[in-house]
Each structure stands twice: as structure tokens, then as C-alpha cells.
């Protein structure tokens, strides 16, 4: 249980932190942080039941994709602005670094294994996004329409 609480806090902090580095618009920082935190929790929970690399990352990416698209509609910003900071905790950066370190040291086998791992994680994230986008394209247009209508009514 503590794992989830800490995971939420640190997932939030690291997403917001990366948002600051990549100069996200200020209004998107908090939503991006929340999406990142929720995705991280999903990653932890799926990781309890499945010890592979693919499922936790894939489902984490699906969550980011769905919530990111939702936020993009609500806050009115390109989806990428949510993807980039939320991804930072899932992304295979450390694995890629490790593999390239082994490559530099001459441990070719370890380097290759690490590189394939990095590719696997990257692929599962990318496929997760595709799945999420396919779902989002079906679900969200009515919501978008309703929001636009409400705004027109206000005018």
C-alpha cells in the first residue's frame, strides 16, 4: 500500500519536473503530473501480477493515452504535451543507458540484451499509445462536441 502512495507522489513529481524541463505551458503541468502519477500506479499494480516487461508498460501507456487525450480536450493543448512528461517515468532511458554503457565497456552480449529490452519497452509503450488513440478516437468526439456546444451557449 505504501508503495502506491509513494509511487503516486514520485510519479507526480517526476512528471511535473520533466514538464518544467521541456517548458510545458503552465496550465498543463498539474494535469500532466496527475496523468503521470496514475500511469505509474497502473504500472506498479500490473507489475504485481505480471513480471514481464511488456504488460506493465503497455497498460501504463494505454492509461497515459486515454487520460492524456482527455486532458488535451479539456485543457485544449496538443496531446504530445501530455505524452512527453508522463512518459518519463516509464520510458526505457535507464535501460538504454545501461546497454550503451556495456557497449562502451565491450560487454557485447549484455549490451545486446539491454538494447533488445529497451526496444521491447519502447515498442510496448508505442503500441499502448496506438491502442489508446484508437479507443480515444471512438469515445471522445461526442464529448468534444458537447464542450464546444456549451461554449457556444455561453456566448
Amino acid at each position: 500500500m505504501m508503495e502506491i502512495v509513494y509511487g503516486f507522489i514520485f510519479g507526480f513529481l517526476s512528471s511535473v519536473g520533466f514538464g518544467i524541463i521541456t517548458n510545458n505551458p503552465r496550465r498543463t503541468l498539474i494535469p500532466a503530473g496527475l496523468v503521470g502519477a496514475i500511469a505509474w500506479i497502473v504500472y506498479i499494480i500490473v507489475g504485481w501480477y505480471n513480471h514481464g516487461l511488456i504488460m506493465p508498460n503497455l497498460l501504463g501507456a494505454v492509461v497515459i493515452g486515454l487520460l492524456g487525450n482527455l486532458c488535451a480536450i479539456l485543457v485544449r493543448a496538443p496531446v504530445n504535451i501530455f505524452y512527453v512528461p508522463c512518459l518519463v517515468s516509464l520510458v526505457p532511458g535507464a535501460i538504454l543507458y545501461d546497454s550503451m554503457k556495456n557497449f562502451t565497456l565491450g560487454n557485447d552480449n549484455a549490451a545486446f540484451v539491454g538494447f533488445v529490452k529497451a526496444l521491447t519497452v519502447g515498442m510496448s509503450l508505442a503500441i499502448g499509445f496506438i491502442i489508446a488513440e484508437a479507443i480515444a478516437n471512438k469515445i471522445y468526439p461526442p464529448l468534444k462536441k458537447r464542450l464546444a456546444q456549451r461554449e457556444n451557449d455561453k456566448k
Binding site: 510519479g11 511535473v16 519536473g17 521541456t22 518519463v88 532511458g93 535507464a94 550503451m100 562502451t104 508505442a126
Partner: protein, 254 residues
């Protein structure tokens, strides 16, 4: 709209695309936005974007322009501003001249977070949640500061050199030096955990994932360009860390 020359419109479209691509938008969004802007002034344009160049061509005549792109650091603020502008423009809320002026403004200056905020941001990224239960709390706290220093070092180098990959290499060198010293002196438990977490702001994880997304969307060229970029950055980070380790070991005789 007759007063605006076709050439002018195509140029503006290209500028819009260049800004988007340089600051981290994906190629399909760049192409869509550019064609959107063109349609809003009743000039159908075709846009083809790769990571290294943008081609904008008007459909009515032979006017074509090529724009060279140097992909640098992400600045999502610019992407957002251009996106908002193009939306307002296609809803005819701002005129063509206003759009032109605004695009120029976004290109030259946009509001940025202060240095201090960015440093704190880098520090926060340096405490990645994946290490929470592997590293000790003390190590994570150290990683916060080591990560800030590494980020600052890479940013300073980036201001002074145009050679790609050198900034990340220097940043990781600094991180590795600090972490290994901390490890040898005995303040840190495990230098490796500090290195991995402090590297998080530099490591090319997001480009790697973006490249695979592009490949899946069949933008193969951009995807491969991004992937190569990510691997090169990974290699330079790896070498930076190892050089740091060797230096510290030869000084302290580990």
C-alpha cells in the same frame, strides 16, 4: 485575401512547421497543422515533413519551398502557442498579418521557466519512482542534487558548443564524477543508483519511444532519424559515465 502572395503564404506555412518540428511535435501533427493554415487562407498546400526538412508546396502553382530543420531541445510551450494560433486563425479570429507577427514573436522569444525552476525540475526528475524501493532514501536525496548539477553542466556546455552529443556527454561525466566520489567517500550507499537516477533528465528515453511511435505510424524516415539520435545520445552518455569512473578510480585508486 487576394493581396497576399502565394509565396508569402507558403513561407509562413513553412515557418509554422519549422517551429513545431524543432520543438518536439511529431511529424504528422506538423503536416496537419501546416495544411490547416493553408486551407484557412484558401490556398491548398501540401506539406511533407521529415526530421531534417519540411517541404511546403502550393497546389495551385509550382510554388514550393524547402525548410531545413535542426531538431534541438523540446520546448513544448512553443508547440502549444503555435497550435493555439493556428486554431484561432482557422476560426478567423485573428487576421493573416496578426498570425504572421505572432509566429515571428513565438520564434524569437517565448516565456521560459526561470533557471532555478528548471533546476528544481531536473532534480525532481532525478528521483525516478522506479528506484523508490531499490535505493535508499539518502541516495535518492543525493541524486536530487547530483541530477541538478549534471543538468546544469550539460546546459552550460550546450550554450557554448554546437557539436551535438557533447552536452549530454559532459553532463553524464559530471554526474559520474560526483556519484563515484560520494560512493568512495562513503556518503552514498551505492554510486550506481545515484548515477542511474541522476541521469534521468539527460537520458534519451522519450526520443526512443517517439521514434517507435513514428515508425508505427509509417513515418519511417523520421522514426529512424530519431532512433539513431537516441542511440547516439545513449552511447555518449555511457562513455561519459565510464570516463568519469576511470578518472575517479585512477585518482583514488579503487
Amino acid at each position: 485575401m487576394g493581396a497576399i502572395s502565394e509565396r508569402d503564404i507558403v513561407t509562413l506555412c513553412g515557418q509554422v512547421g519549422t517551429i513545431l518540428l524543432e520543438n518536439g511535435a511529431e511529424t504528422s501533427r506538423v503536416e496537419n497543422t501546416v495544411e490547416y493554415v493553408g486551407r484557412a487562407v484558401d490556398l491548398p498546400v501540401i506539406c511533407h515533413a521529415t526530421m531534417t526538412g519540411i517541404f511546403v508546396s502550393s497546389e495551385n502553382s509550382a510554388t514550393t519551398r524547402i525548410f531545413k530543420v535542426r531538431v534541438g531541445d523540446f520546448n513544448l510551450q512553443k508547440v502549444d502557442e503555435i497550435n493555439t494560433l493556428s486554431r484561432e486563425f482557422s476560426r478567423h479570429e485573428i487576421t493573416y498579418d496578426e498570425l504572421k507577427k505572432e509566429v515571428k514573436r513565438v520564434d524569437t522569444e517565448t516565456l521560459d521557466f526561470s533557471w532555478l525552476t528548471k533546476c528544481i525540475g531536473a532534480g525532481l526528475v532525478s528521483m525516478p519512482p522506479m528506484l523508490l524501493f531499490k535505493a535508499t532514501w539518502g541516495d535518492l536525496a543525493l541524486a536530487f542534487f547530483v541530477g541538478i548539477l549534471g543538468y546544469v553542466a550539460s546546459q552550460i556546455v550546450a550554450h557554448h558548443t554546437k557539436t551535438p552529443y557533447i552536452p549530454v556527454a559532459v553532463g553524464s561525466l559530471v554526474i559520474s564524477l560526483l556519484a563515484n566520489v560520494l560512493g568512495i567517500v562513503g556518503i552514498a550507499h551505492d554510486a550506481n543508483y545515484i548515477i542511474i537516477s541522476a541521469l534521468m533528465p539527460l537520458v534519451p528515453g522519450v526520443p526512443m519511444t517517439n521514434s517507435l511511435r513514428e515508425i508505427i505510424e509509417r513515418n519511417t524516415i523520421s522514426g529512424i532519424v530519431r532512433a539513431t539520435d537516441a542511440i547516439m545520445a545513449g552511447i555518449s552518455i555511457g562513455s561519459g559515465v565510464i570516463v568519469g569512473q576511470i578518472i575517479i578510480k585512477s585518482i583514488f585508486g579503487g
